[in-house]
Symmetry: C2
């Protein structure tokens, strides 16, 4: 028996890489909502045939960040104000549930990971790298989901995350002065380490409200314009 346990090697199929590339392009806002994806053009740019590209796009359609109309094309999903509010309110419910499930599972590894991810957020914040800040903040929040030990919940969260990340990126671009607030996560982290689950849940809800406040204002401004 070996002491080392190897993790599965990266499955290197063109399709998987295309998915990663496209997802990143969408979530960082390089591809704008509503924009059409021309298969031939993209496949040429990526030096890849249309088959794996199309399969990748099918995956992203199911992931909810692309939308496809037969014989018309595939587009980056259009984000309405209501979608943001919807995702946001569901997120609160799921967070509550995730904290409840994760609570008894917390261990040293959890706390270590919590600190690690918190540190990553602070670093991205200092570097004024807003894209990375969004990413790391969502990863920080994702920890309780990973510890909740509920695969369906985790999967749901990950789907939601894609959208949230997209909304945030959109918002950041809209008012292109980012100004990330220094440290909104200190209390969140502290409470997750504490003994009062209810308090943690309550704070999470308020914290989310806080995080999303600007986003909601943006959402409402969209609403008015429409």
């Amino acid at each position: 028996m070996s002491k080392l346990d190897f993790s599965p090697i990266a499955d290197t199929t063109r399709r998987a890489e295309i998915v990663a590339l496209l997802r990143r392009a969408i979530l960082t806002g390089q591809l704008e909502p509503g924009q059409k994806l021309n298969e031939l053009r993209i496949s040429e740019q990526m030096r890849v045939s249309r088959a794996p590209l199309r399969e990748a796009m099918r995956e992203l359609v199911q992931e909810g960040i692309l939308t496809s109309i037969p014989y018309a094309g595939t587009f980056v999903v259009d984000v309405a104000a209501k979608d943001i509010v919807d995702a946001y309110s569901l997120n609160k419910v799921l967070d509550d549930f995730a904290i409840e499930l994760a609570w008894p599972q917390r261990d040293q590894r959890f706390f270590d990971e919590l600190d690690r991810r918190h540190e990553a957020v602070k670093q991205a914040t200092r570097a004024l790298d807003t894209t990375r800040q969004i990413e790391t903040a969502l990863q920080l929040h994702g920890l309780v989901y990973e510890w909740a030990d509920n695969s369906v919940l985790l999967e749901t969260w990950q789907r939601l995350t894609s959208r949230l990340q997209m909304y945030f990126a959109l918002h950041q671009r809209a008012r292109n002065e980012p100004v990330p607030a220094e440290d909104l996560h200190e209390t969140y982290v502290a409470l997750l380490k504490g003994t009062d689950m209810r308090a943690a849940q309550r704070h999470a809800r308020e914290h989310i409200d806080n995080d999303f406040e600007a986003l909601l204002a943006y959402a409402r401004s969209l609403e008015k314009r429409a």
Copy 2:
């Protein structure tokens, strides 16, 4: 302005039909969990090339009812006991939320539709058509999600539904004497028509417990076997 509002015509692409065919085959248990899907064989049976078949499979992978291993194959997702418990517990949380959102939205159309779907369940029950009974029961429960007016929540529910339906079908086949209980939904429907939201939520939770009781027993028996 026309008084008629036409629904979009059926998008007739092979891919879409393949998705529907495969999904049905999986959810009704014609394709068993863990079973491998041979692309060439299936494409020949369907008289279709592998391209649209593969794209369809990618969709179902993202939908969570297939799983794909590069260069090895695509398989019907293996359902572990824990998955059932996970889906089931998340379902309770979502139901709570859905009822809360749908509550103020209830109108005559809601009540009519509620009755209609309830009737469909009863009919399937009388006909001893267990597959259809599962389908209609899930549609009955889906009504509050449709009325909740939260697209993300609805989408999440639909994803969950696929799995639940699969689990139920699996369970029914395992103990192939179905014996669907006559009418567990009477109280549920009545409460949704009433004025006490809390009571409706509480009952929904218990009702789900009831519905899933046998399934949970089955899940635990799987757990022991493993």
